[in-house]
Structure formats: structure tokens, C-alpha cells
Subunit: 379 residues, 4 copies
Amino acid sequence: MGMIGGGVGAFIGAVHRLAANLDGQIELVCGAFSRDPATSKQTGKELFLDESRVYDSFKQMIETEAGLPESQRMDFVSIVTPNHVHAEPALLALEHGFPVIIDKPLCFNMEEAYAIRNKVNETGLPLALTHTYTGYPMIKEARQLVKSGKFGAIRKVMMEYPQGWLAEKIEDSDQKQASWRTDPSKSGKSGAYGDIGTHAANMGEYVSGLQITKVLSMVKKIVPGRLLDDDASAFMEFEGGVPGVLTVSQVSAGEENAIRVRVYGEKGGLEWTQRDPNTLLVKWNDAPDEIYRTGTGYVSEAAQANSRTPAGHPEGYLEAFANIYKNFAMHLRAIDAGITHNMDVYDYPGIEDGVHGMSLVEAVIESTEKGNIWVNVTD
Amino acid sequence: MGMIGGGVGAFIGAVHRLAANLDGQIELVCGAFSRDPATSKQTGKELFLDESRVYDSFKQMIETEAGLPESQRMDFVSIVTPNHVHAEPALLALEHGFPVIIDKPLCFNMEEAYAIRNKVNETGLPLALTHTYTGYPMIKEARQLVKSGKFGAIRKVMMEYPQGWLAEKIEDSDQKQASWRTDPSKSGKSGAYGDIGTHAANMGEYVSGLQITKVLSMVKKIVPGRLLDDDASAFMEFEGGVPGVLTVSQVSAGEENAIRVRVYGEKGGLEWTQRDPNTLLVKWNDAPDEIYRTGTGYVSEAAQANSRTPAGHPEGYLEAFANIYKNFAMHLRAIDAGITHNMDVYDYPGIEDGVHGMSLVEAVIESTEKGNIWVNVTD
Amino acid sequence: MGMIGGGVGAFIGAVHRLAANLDGQIELVCGAFSRDPATSKQTGKELFLDESRVYDSFKQMIETEAGLPESQRMDFVSIVTPNHVHAEPALLALEHGFPVIIDKPLCFNMEEAYAIRNKVNETGLPLALTHTYTGYPMIKEARQLVKSGKFGAIRKVMMEYPQGWLAEKIEDSDQKQASWRTDPSKSGKSGAYGDIGTHAANMGEYVSGLQITKVLSMVKKIVPGRLLDDDASAFMEFEGGVPGVLTVSQVSAGEENAIRVRVYGEKGGLEWTQRDPNTLLVKWNDAPDEIYRTGTGYVSEAAQANSRTPAGHPEGYLEAFANIYKNFAMHLRAIDAGITHNMDVYDYPGIEDGVHGMSLVEAVIESTEKGNIWVNVTD
Amino acid sequence: MGMIGGGVGAFIGAVHRLAANLDGQIELVCGAFSRDPATSKQTGKELFLDESRVYDSFKQMIETEAGLPESQRMDFVSIVTPNHVHAEPALLALEHGFPVIIDKPLCFNMEEAYAIRNKVNETGLPLALTHTYTGYPMIKEARQLVKSGKFGAIRKVMMEYPQGWLAEKIEDSDQKQASWRTDPSKSGKSGAYGDIGTHAANMGEYVSGLQITKVLSMVKKIVPGRLLDDDASAFMEFEGGVPGVLTVSQVSAGEENAIRVRVYGEKGGLEWTQRDPNTLLVKWNDAPDEIYRTGTGYVSEAAQANSRTPAGHPEGYLEAFANIYKNFAMHLRAIDAGITHNMDVYDYPGIEDGVHGMSLVEAVIESTEKGNIWVNVTD
């Protein structure tokens, strides 16, 4: 794998590397880690890379690697730059025949999203999007339970993701993460919704198996002077008219990454929160609630295939993240071997999730701008 | 105390009696427990009442008791009938000089609400409304902590109350609770919002110390054929423009009475849920979260005054309910004794909470009827 | 009911009264609340008692009441004095024909225990012991689940009760509770074990349905200068050789009344803790764990009969305590009515629990005194 | 790194590899994965190893690698075989100049333990023991908090580790893990205590900062026909006479790896359980309990240095395990670079933990064999 972005000091780049390392199935062989060649070089050195494969720019990397013999060149590209630097390297990589794994959201705006989708369709190359939270085994289990029909028709979806790290205006200091995430020229139209709302909405759709079709939002800039939203709530209608409520915030002081999803059907419901990621609560009206756990023998094939240890060995965020890398790498190998990849069990978020996620950002922002009205989501 | 409603088989009437009994400060001396004199008689017998003070109607009770010598007659009236039979006995009791304690919501519609308010103002008699959840010691503590300014200015309020008991259309069977609560001629304009949304909103206001000024709702009748809403969500704006989100449901299969409130300020936040009522979570961005507990020495006077045992002896719903009765009785005694009642410590919800709660019902229903638009709350 | 002990400022006496009040089935009609007649008088006044029935001594109370007409005299006696003043009033009450409810432990030493047992057997009068924790609905459920055989043969019992309130030597200040509980002349041979270990052991036996037959203890006086044990652990062998481990402490700084019981059988196990009293965790090796809850429709008759509200209305310590009073009163009524009392459903701890609990105190203390050896428990 | 053991199908070998991979600091370059050369070969292939460095035996591996040029040969050896095959490869590796990382317990018996210790002392080479649980950031924090003196002198240590996986006699089927762990010729003198009791005791010592000096145990073979203990409890005295209680079990049906430690001092206490590994509960008698969390800014340097992501990204078992590998590798690099390794912050369990752990096994077993008497622990 070759990495674009993720230079020394970056948060998400390091996470991508840990995730890629974990299973010993992926090797980082090259990178263009920063716009600053010196930083890129320094990063490559710390990662024990061959100097000759630490590049000054993603353009140089993609073009040079494309020219290497197939057995030597990188197998795919991982893009971990801020949102406004997603599309260009992704398009270039796809054009040069490299599959792409890309941090969410897919890109900066709809135009870019459509361009990437077109390129993916044109090249037929796989693209993965790191909606990490659907990588958790108990989220796989939740999806399978809903799909099994145990709960009957789905009636309500609740999605939330409160954080507190932007409770103060830390973008005014030199907090790297905060600066680009609150800057419309780098993040795009939305702050909190784009950064974490997309995760929560994706989770609601993934577990319920239903797409969001329209939204009515209340998006807020709560910290004075902030340029993008830092708090967002939305009513969301899913296919078939199922109501959903989403609330995300980056100013909920004291909250970590408390993403939580609850889905209710006619006969029962389920609840999952990242605070206790190896537990899935399954609730019934006339029977004891049940505690489903990662690594047990009774969970679905999808849940089992996406955990690494038996029950009682807590798995966390990096393992969930690694599942995307592992399943993506497995898909690439399956393609090489000419065999079918089982996407029900070894799934990962892809281009359609990415485009849809971008459409949701558009719709959520538009709804508030137009006075909190219903806006259809069109991918 | 004399009771109106609460005949054999009623749920909330029995709860009121348990709550009134607990502290040994209130004695049930008479009742008109049912429209059916035989049921009323039977109930009185089971409650060890003097037969002569078990009445055939609330009218008879109020008028007869008013005629007894002051030392013998009931001290106040407790009204535990369905919503459409709140106003008439309340007005009659007040007119005859009896203070009133009344199950929430205050009454059937705004007209009644205003009539009761006028009568209260005219007579100067105390009226208590059983918004039980604000009776919990840790909710008192939450209010005091917010009031202390520890969290800085309040920025967000989240209120939820999911239940699952109406996931099926049980009003079609002979479930007494379900039938009147889903019947517009008995409940009023709203089902779920009126029954439990009013509790959640009251809690949000009580803890934040801020009133809700406008709402944008999404109210749903999810179970086919149901006559009133069984699921309701709302964006709610509090004084000063503070955003809130409320979600309540009676079709969240598998949920008990999972009322939860979260309030966030500039520096920290708090969370309480009835599932773990003696715990108040206090959250900070740069320090360990704290677990405040009922019965400890470090909580506020208000929290201490509203619990009965030292930390480690779980108190529950009945104790919270009993706090309303206890504080109301204490207020009546203070009036008799001509001393001041400390409403900051020994508080209970009153007529203004009741009228405001009714206005919120109106606004929430109107918002959805008009197409999910913002509606101002006018008491 | 007439009460002995529980004067103004006492902790457990007030709890007994709250518990007795709750269900409106028991009326406090008289009392000898203190050795000090003035305190007794003052207490009676605060409790709205008829002055003529507030007595100067328990002797006076029992003898006077015994002389009243049957319809007027107290129905039973409640003894809430320190341990060394249990036996004398209990014996006197029984001799005068009064059933007795008595705070645990039963009494001061074995001699007294046997004397009380003999008197109970001789008179045939009911005696209840307030081992409160077995009054919790979910503990009733636990017992029924074990009894049902669902878990197979029981293999292990874990009992614990950590508290922190004696972490400092507060008996040196004027803390009334601490002084008598750490004073061998008032408490008896044991401090922590006698006070809370007896509860934990009783809970283990109640849930498992097995009696403890021998013990090997490690009893400690951890706070320097303390006269009785403040920390006690024991290996305990139950009938059939089932091993148990008990750990209790009054110096576990920061702990409330964290009594917890875990019982494991061949196929599964269960766990309950007072911190979350309305939840019973049921655990299985090859299936999701289950969460049994107070007030649900699926729990046993015993669990249902000992709760007052539907699921979702937290019940606590006072409700558990009240179950003992309620079931005891129901037993007395059944005797009066000449009908059978269903002790499987409406049970309460009685004389045999009391004597056995005292034997356990003896054995636990003896084991440590003799060098941590196994000691048989002989009732 | 070269690995000994861990062939296809082994549990702990795979875990060691995941842990070693995570940080991208260690590369598996060779292995002798099984006594069966074909299995070893197959494992090597699946791990993308160079065929020439997949060996038929650990002897062959150590000797061959020792002959390679320094820049090519493995840097250290990881031993993940059953207990009876720890000492021989460890001694051989040390003799050939290779540092060793070894799964716990250190070895099969005291004789071997002393031999390894001597060899470590003689060669001066680092040896790490994978007492995984002390690798958790919140356990590091716990140790630092105790060390800081915040809690005052330590008074009590509670250690437990219930599991349920051996509730049935699965060693009779072909469960590989169960067979060797219940076989005295492979596990050594103890089953449950040796396997998980050693972890619990190590945790108690690590957090309290105190060594266990004597034990009185109750060790049981609960499943009929089992050859080694599957349940063990012990009173344990720590330095300074501090009492501890340890309970571990492999027949607690329904339990996962519920290792928990509680330590109490004069002023407060702490509690940690693997079920919620990123939380450390800190308890006080007169102040709200506190929730310390992994990845926060307020925890100690040791806790921060042993986590990889900011608060809100759950870390789990593999991350804790990886900390041992990471810190060990950092130590080896420090030695190479001639700089000091900060063992307070980047610590890992070593030879003394291993020998002491073996002594504890001896003492625990001896205590029960001699009739549950106190036995001194002598390393």
C-alpha cells in the first residue's frame, strides 16, 4: 500500500497505518505523506520505508509507482488528507489502475463525488471508504439481526454522536485537527455534520438496511465566531417512511466519541454505543433483554468473521478500522485470484456510501439554510 | 387527603396512595374512587376507610367534606382520573377551599388550563402537579449544579423518553391504561407527547432552568389505526436561543420508561436516566467525569432534603413521587403555621408548570399539523 | 404495630417506619422509642401518636398494650434497638402473645438466639427478621431461577458486601451508628461480619437454596484501635460441598452498600448487585446473557408479588424492606383468617434464619481466632 | 522476531502476532511454528514468510539464525508454546544471544524458573513475560495513582478472574486449548490458578505496588474427572500485612474473561475490569467517584504512553498486548542505541515477575494440599 497524507503529527493517518498493520496482510511500501517533502521524508524514515519510495507529492508517487513492475509496485492507495485533497489523488490513482481506500467523507463537494463515482464505474476498480464504525463486529451483528426479520418491520431509527472537543474555539490556537475541520475551504459545506453526522447517518442506514430519503435539519454554529456548524440535529425519513432522529455535536462538553445507534421494529429493538463496543443490547417487550457479545459462538458469520479473538478479549476502534482494510485487501486478492468476494460477510463501505453521504451533507445544510424544511436526498 | 379516581385496578391511583403513605405525614381519609359507586365502595373498603367517607361522586365528596368541622375534614384533594376529568373536580375543590394535587397533564385543553389557573390565582390555594421525575434527588442536584454556573452558559438540552408498551395495538383489547390514553376524547389532542413528552420537556426545563419558547415537531401515529400520536420528536428552542432535541415514543419495543436528560454547558455537561436514578453523571472536557450519588454528604441541600436514606440505599420512583406529596404537605403545614416554605429546597411542580405543559402540547401538535414548522409557545 | 427503639436520630428505626407505612397495611399505634422517656415522648409526638401510647420502656409498652382490648392493642412489635437489646423485648413480647419483627442480627449471642427460638416454638407466634436484601424482587427471581433447575447443579457462590463508611475511626467522634456497631458490648462478637457479613451470607443461601455448613475465615481489624472486625473474608462450604467465597468490609473507602451475589451452576449463572437492584443478570455459556427486570410480565409469581409497579419504575431499598413488613402482615392476617399463607411467594426471613445467622457469626469468629481453620456451623 | 509455536489453529500464537504487528515496529521474519514440520511450513506460508526461514524445530531456528549476519538475523524470540515447552527454547535462545518474549506462566516448574532466571542474569539479556492485563493504559494509571499516595496506605486488594469456558469437560473432545491446559504434564501443577490466577495475582501486585508474601488457598477440581484445578480462591497477604482475596474460576458458566481488580487505601479506592477496559473507577468517601478514561489529557505519562488514540477510541486486549511488545522492542532499541529505557513509563513484565508467579503457583497448590494452611511465598 502507498499512503497519501498522514505525515508526522497527523491523527487519522497514523490510525490508518495501525489498522493496516494489524493483521499482517498489508505492507506499507511507499508514501507521499505531506505537501512538504521534508516532512514526507521524515515520516517515511520513521516508518522504516525505503527512501526511494518516499515521494514529494502524490502525483509523483502515483506516476512513479505505476511505472514499477507489477510485483513491486504498491497494490493500492490510501488517502488520508483533509477533505479538499481527496478527489484529485483518488482520480489520479484510479486512472493509473490503483484501487483506493479513502478517509470519509468521500470528498469536498457533489461535483467531486460524481467525478469519483464515474471514474470508479469506468475503471471497475474497488474503492473503500473508512466509515469505521460499521467495522465493529456488533454492528455487523445488528445489521444481520435486523435483516433476519426478528424485529419485524423497522419503525424508528435513532442516531447520535456527541463529542465535546470543540467546546472551546481551539481552531484559534494551533490545534491542527481543529483548524482544517472548522475551515470551509478544507472541510466543505459542513463541520460537525460532515465530520461525524455522516458517520451517524451511515450507521443508521447500515444497521436498519434502509436509505435516508429526506431530511429536515437544525444545524447550528454554537461557539461564537466558528465558521462551520458544530452542532446538528435532523429528522430523517428512511425508505418506506420510517422516521429517524439524528443528533450530533462537537460542543457537548465532556463527551468523547459517544456514537450510539438504536433501531426499533415491531417486536423489539437494539442499541449499540461505542462506549461499550463489544456489547449489542437486544430488547424485547415480553422477554428479558439480551446481551450479544463479540467473539461468541452464537453470533452471525459476519460478526464472527470480523473479530479476531474469542469472547472476553475486548476489541476496539483499531480492530474495527482494521476490518475495513482487511476486507478490502481480501477483496483485492479475490479479484487477483479470480474468485468471488463475499460482500455480505466481508463487507466494507464503498463508492455508493460515499456519494450518498455527500448528498446527505448537501441536504442537511440546505434544509437549515432554507428555514428547516424537508429536503429530498438525491444521490 | 381525599382521593378522586383510583378505583380498584387503576394504575396511577395506587401509585399516588403509595407515595402519600410513605412518609407517614399524610392520611387518606376519604375518596370518590370511581364513577361507579360500587367500585368506589369496594376500593374504600380495601383501603380501610370509614364507610361514611367513601363517596359516590367527587361532587358529593367535596361538598360533604367542606361541611365537616375543620379538624375532621380532608386537608386536600388528590385527582387521579383520566385527563378529561381533571378540570371539573379541580375547580370544584378549589372553590370549596381545598388545595389540589393533580396527576399530569394538568387537564384536557387550554381552556380548562386557563380556568384552573384563574381559580388558583383567585383562591390563592396551592396546586401540585405530579411531574414525578423532577422529584428524584439527582434531578434536584442536576438543577442546582446548572444553577451554580459550574458548566457556564447552557448550550444544548437533550430529552428523551422511549417506551415500548404501545408497540402493539393493545387498546383494542381491554387494557384499561391503553384505552383511555389513546382516546382523544379522554386524553386530549396528543397521545405520546401528552403522556410522556410533557414529562421529558418538563425535565429539560427543570434541569436547565430555561423555558421552551418555540418548537418544531415531527409527531407520528406509527401503529396503524391508532387515533393519537405514539411517537414524537421535536426541536425545541429554549430561552436565549438554546437548542434542544426531544424524542419520545411509546412504540420503541423493548424500552421501559427510559426517560433521560442531558444538558451541556460551555465547560461541562450532565446526564441522568431513570434506569439508574441515584446516579448523576457530570462530565468535563479536561478532568475525569464524576458520579454524583443520592444520599451522599457532598450533594446540595435540595438533593439531601429529598432523599430518605444515606448513600447506598437505592431510592426509586415511589420515593420521587412521594417527594411531591411530602413537599406539598409541608407547604400546606407552613401555610397553616404562617411560616415561609422554602421552595428552592422543598419544591414541587405547580400551576404554571401545568399551564405551560399544556401550551407545549398545543404547540407540538400544531407544528406537525402545519407541516413541521416552528410554533411559538404561549402560555 | 408498636415500636421498640428508633428514637429521634436513629437510622434503622426510621427505615422500619417508612417500610411499614408504604403499603397502607400497617399503622404505628404505639412505641417505646428510647431508654430516655423524653426522647420517646418527643419521637411519638413527631409521629402523630396518641400521647397515652408513647411509653417510657418496652416493658411498660408490652404489658400495657397486652391489657388493652384486642381490637385496640397493637398487633405486633417491631424491635429496632442495638443488638444487645433484642432478646429481652423479643422474649417479653412473645410471652405476651405479640408476634415480633426484629432487625438483624437476631440478637447478641447464641444463648439468646436459642432462648428466642425456644420461645417462638413454644408460642407458635411468627417472628420476622429484616434481612432486607432478600426482599428485592430480583432476588426472589434469582432464587426461583436456581430452584427451577435451569442452571443445573450449583457449583459456586460468591458473596460480597463492601462499604467504606468506617474507613476512618468515626466511633471516636459522636457518630451514633458507628459507636454501637463497633462496641463489643452492644454489637456482640463481630463488627463487620455481624453487621453486613450476615446479610451477604444470608443472600448466598437464599439464592442458592443451600445452607452454609462450614467456614474458614480471615477476619481483620484494619483501622488501628478498633475493637471489632471491620473487614472479613471467608471460604464457605455449602451443603453438598459447594464452595463459596464471601468478602465484606467496612473500610473499603469509597464503597456504598455494594452488596453483590453471584451463583454459578453447570449451565449458567446469575449476578445481582444492589447498585442496580431491578436488574438480574443471567449468564449462559452458549447464548446471549439475559437481563431480567423487576415488574416485567415474564418473571416468577414471587418476583411479581413483591413489586408494586410495572417495569420501568425503579424500586429500591425501602420497597424491599417494605416487602418484609407486607408479607409479615399478610401472614398475621392469614392466621387471623384461618387461611394458609403462601410462604413460597410471600416469604420473609424468620427465626431459623436468625439462629443460623448467629451460628455463622460464631463460626466465622472462631475460625480466625483458632488460626484460620475450618469450623463447622451448628445451629 | 522469530516465533516458536503458534502453528495454524493455535490461539495465543495468533494473538502474539497481531500484537507484534500493530505498531509497525516489529517484523516476523522466521518461525518454528510446530513440532510438525508440515504444519510449521504451512503456517509460514500463510504468514508470507520466506520459506528458507521457516524451521522444523526451535533448535534449528535458533542455531541457524544465530549464524546469520547480524543485520539479517531475527532480533528476538517469541515463545508461545504450552508451558512445558517454555524453558528449553528460552534457555537455548538466551544462550545464543537472543532476547526472549514468553507467554505466561514463565515455565513448568520452579526448577525451570530458577534456571531461566540464572540464564537471564548471566547473559544480561532482556526477557519479557506477557502478563497482558498490566498492558492496559488504565492499569498503568491505577498503579500510578496508588504510587502517588492519593489513597493513603493500601489496606485491601481484591482480585478476581471468572471464566466459564471449562464449565463442561471439553478436554474430552478435541478442543486443543482445553486439552493441554487441563493436562498436568503440559500445564504444570495447576490449571485455573496457573492459567488465570497468575494473571489476577500479578495484577493485584502491579496495581498495589506490593508483593504477595503468603497465601492460604482453597483450590478445587469442580468438573468431575478433571485432572487439574478449575476453580481457586485464596487469601493473600501482601507486604506490610495487607490482606487480599483472590478468586478465579474456569467453571463460572457464562463468564467471559471477567478479570477485575479493586484496591482500597485509607482515603479511597479504585476498580478496573476488563469488561470496560478504558475506564478506571476512582472512589472516594466524601466526594463524587471519578471516571478516569484512556486517552485523556489528565492521565499520567505512563497511561498516555501506552495508548494510541485520543479518548473516545476504545482500545482493547490486542492493544494492551501490543504494549508489551512495543515496550520490549523499545527497550531492545535503547540497548542498541546505548540509551536508558524508561521502565516506569514503558514497562513490561520481566523475569522476576515470572519467577515470583511460579512461586505463587507452588504456594497456592501447597496450601490446599496441606489442608488450607498459610504458606510463605519464596522466590
